[in-house]
C-alpha cells in the first residue's frame, strides 16, 4: 500500500533501505580520476563503513562509477558494461569531464555530457574531486535511493530510442548486441 509520506510502498521502503546500505561499485577508471578511488576504498577514507564495496564484474555491481573523460572508443565499453548490469542500477559521473568535458572541451574524440549517453543519477564535480567529495556523492546517491528517486535505469528503458540515437551519433562502428532486458 502507498505510504502518504513520500508515496512509496512499504515493501519498497524496506528494499530501498537495504539497497542504500549495500552499494556494490564497478569503478570504470580510465580517466585520471581513477587515482582517487584507491584512497577512498582503503584505510584512510574507508568507504566500506557505508556499505560501499568494489566489485569485479558488471553483473554483480549496482553502481557504475565513471571516473573522468570518456573517449568515443571507451564510451562503447561503458555502454556495454552498463547494459550488462542488473536492475536496479545507478550511475555516478565523477569529475568535471563527465559534466561538460572539463579540460577536454575542445577535444575531437571525447564526449562532453555523459548524461546524453547513459542516465547519470549523481554528479561529483571537481577536477579532480577529493575522496571526501566522492564519499559525499555516494551519500547523496544513498539519499536519492532511500527516497526512491534514483530511477536512471527506468529513464533509460523509457527513452531508449533517444539514448541509442545519441550513442550511434558518436560511435561510428556500431556492432553491439541487442539486449532485451
Amino acid at each position: 500500500m502507498p505510504n502518504d509520506k513520500n508515496s512509496q510502498k512499504i515493501v519498497d521502503i524496506i528494499k530501498n533501505a537495504a539497497r542504500k546500505h549495500s552499494l556494490f561499485v564497478l569503478a570504470y577508471g580510465t580517466g585520471c580520476g581513477a587515482i582517487e578511488i584507491p584512497p577512498t576504498m582503503t584505510s584512510r577514507y574507508d568507504a566500506e563503513r557505508f556499505g560501499i564495496r568494489g566489485m569485479a564484474t558488471p553483473r554483480q555491481a549496482d553502481v557504475l562509477l565513471v571516473t573522468g573523460y570518456l573517449a568515443t572508443k571507451t564510451l562503447k565499453r561503458v555502454i556495454r558494461a552498463y547494459e550488462q548490469m542488473q536492475d536496479p542500477k545507478y550511475v555516478i559521473g565523477f569529475g568535471s569531464c563527465t559534466i561538460n568535458g572539463g579540460m577536454y572541451w575542445d577535444s575531437y574524440n571525447t564526449i562532453k555530457l555523459l548524461d546524453k549517453y547513459i542516465p547519470v543519477d549523481v554528479y561529483i564535480n571537481g577536477c579532480m574531486p577529493r575522496p571526501e567529495a566522492v564519499i559525499t556523492g555516494f551519500i547523496e546517491l544513498q539519499k536519492l535511493i532511500a527516497e526512491g528517486k534514483a530511477d536512471g535505469a527506468t529513464k533509460y528503458k523509457e527513452n531508449l530510442d533517444w539514448y541509442r540515437a545519441n550513442q550511434k551519433k558518436v560511435i561510428k562502428n556500431w556492432n553491439m548486441p541487442d539486449y532485451n532486458w
Binding site: E48, R49, T57
Partner: protein
C-alpha cells in the same frame, strides 16, 4: 504424520535458520576484523544481511542456458544437504538436531561436500566467461590438493574410533572423556591445514581472486544468483565448522559453546588469511601435498601401529 516426524521437520528448519544466521554473522564479523587489522573502521557486523537481502531483491535477467540457472541451485542444495548430516548439539548422551544421521555418513559427507563445487563448476562453465573457466580449473585443482590431507585425517579418526558415523565419533569422545584433537593430534593438524584451503581465504583464494580473475566462477552471476551463492557459502562455512567441532572438539552441549568453539576455529583460516598474500595455483597444491599430507600419513600410521 505423527508427532515425531513434525518434530524432526521443525528440527531441519531450525538447523537451516541457525546455520544461515551464524554463517552470515560470521561473514560480517570477519569483514569487521579484517577492517580493524587494516586500521579501518569497517562495515557494521550486520552488513552481510543487507547485502544478501539487497541481492535477493535485484532482478536477474541473464540467460546463458539452463545449466547456468541450475549451478547456484546445486550449490545451495549441497550446502543444506550436508548440513542435514551434521549433529549440531549434543546433550547427555543424546543428540539434538541430529537430523539425518546414519552409519557411514562421514563417507557420504566426503562426497556431498564437493557436490556444490562441482555444480557451480558446471554452471560457471556454461556462462562461457573465460575468467569463470580459469577459476573453475583452479578451484578443482586446489580441491584435489586439500582433499588428500583431509581424507587422511578422517581415515585416522575412523580407524581409531572404529566408526564411520559422526555420532559414533562423538560417542567415542564422550565415552573416553576426551577430544579427538588430543587423542590423535597429527590427524587434527593435517585436517586444520586442509581447512585453510577449504575456506578459500588467502593465501588459498586462487579460485575467486578478484584482482586477477574478476571473482572467477562467480563473474557472470549477478543478482539473485549471487545471493544464492552467498547464502550457500555462509551455510557451508557453518557446516565445515560444526563438523570440525563435532569430530575433533567433542561437539557442543549448548549454543554458547557451539558459537565459542566454531568462532575460535574460524579464526585460524581468517587470521592466517588476512596477513597473507595470494599463492599461485601450483604453490597452493604443492603446499597441500607437502607437510599436510605427510602429517596425515603419520597420523594414520600412529593410529595403526602405536594405539
Amino acid at each position: 504424520m505423527d508427532t515425531n516426524s513434525w518434530i524432526s521437520i521443525l528440527g531441519f528448519i531450525a538447523t537451516v535458520v541457525l546455520a544461515f544466521t551464524v554463517g552470515v554473522s560470521y561473514g560480517g564479523i570477519v569483514r569487521k576484523i579484517t577492517a580493524r587489522i587494516q586500521n579501518r573502521v569497517g562495515p557494521p557486523v550486520y552488513q552481510n544481511f543487507f547485502d544478501i537481502f539487497k541481492l535477493y531483491s535485484k532482478s536477474t535477467a541473464v540467460n546463458h542456458g539452463w545449466m547456468q540457472h541450475l549451478g547456484p541451485a546445486f550449490a545451495i542444495t549441497a550446502s543444506v544437504t550436508s548440513l542435514m548430516f551434521i549433529p549440531v548439539l549434543n546433550g547427555q548422551g543424546e543428540f539434538w538436531f541430529a537430523n539425518l544421521n546414519f552409519k557411514g555418513d562421514l563417507i557420504f559427507l566426503l562426497y556431498m561436500m564437493v557436490f556444490g563445487s562441482l555444480g557451480m563448476a558446471l554452471g560457471a562453465g556454461q556462462t562461457g566467461n573465460p575468467n569463470s573457466a580459469i577459476g573453475v580449473s583452479r578451484g578443482l585443482s586446489q580441491m584435489v590438493g586439500y582433499e588428500i590431507p583431509w581424507v587422511l585425517a578422517l581415515v585416522a579418526l575412523m580407524l581409531q574410533t572404529k566408526s564411520t558415523s559422526i555420532t559414533g565419533i562423538m560417542d567415542y569422545q564422550i565415552a573416553h572423556g576426551t577430544w579427538m584433537m588430543f587423542e590423535s593430534p597429527l590427524a587434527f593438524i593435517a585436517a586444520l591445514m586442509a581447512m585453510l584451503g577449504m575456506f578459500h581465504y588467502a593465501p588459498f583464494d586462487v579460485t575467486f581472486a578478484p584482482a586477477e580473475l574478476s571473482s572467477g566462477p562467480a563473474s557472470e552471476f549477478g543478482g539473485k544468483y549471487l545471493a544464492m551463492m552467498m547464502t550457500s557459502g555462509s551455510i557451508f562455512a557453518f557446516v565445515k565448522l560444526a563438523l570440525f567441532v563435532d569430530i575433533f572438539m567433542g561437539g557442543a552441549s549448548n549454543l554458547i559453546m557451539l558459537v565459542v568453539k566454531t568462532f575460535l576455529l574460524y579464526m585460524v583460516p581468517v587470521l592466517y588469511g588476512i596477513v597473507s598474500p595470494r599463492y599461485r595455483t601450483e604453490q597452493s597444491i604443492r603446499y597441500f601435498w607437502g607437510w599436510p599430507t605427510l602429517i596425515g600419513v603419520l597420523g594414520v600410521l600412529y593410529v595403526v601401529f602405536v594405539r
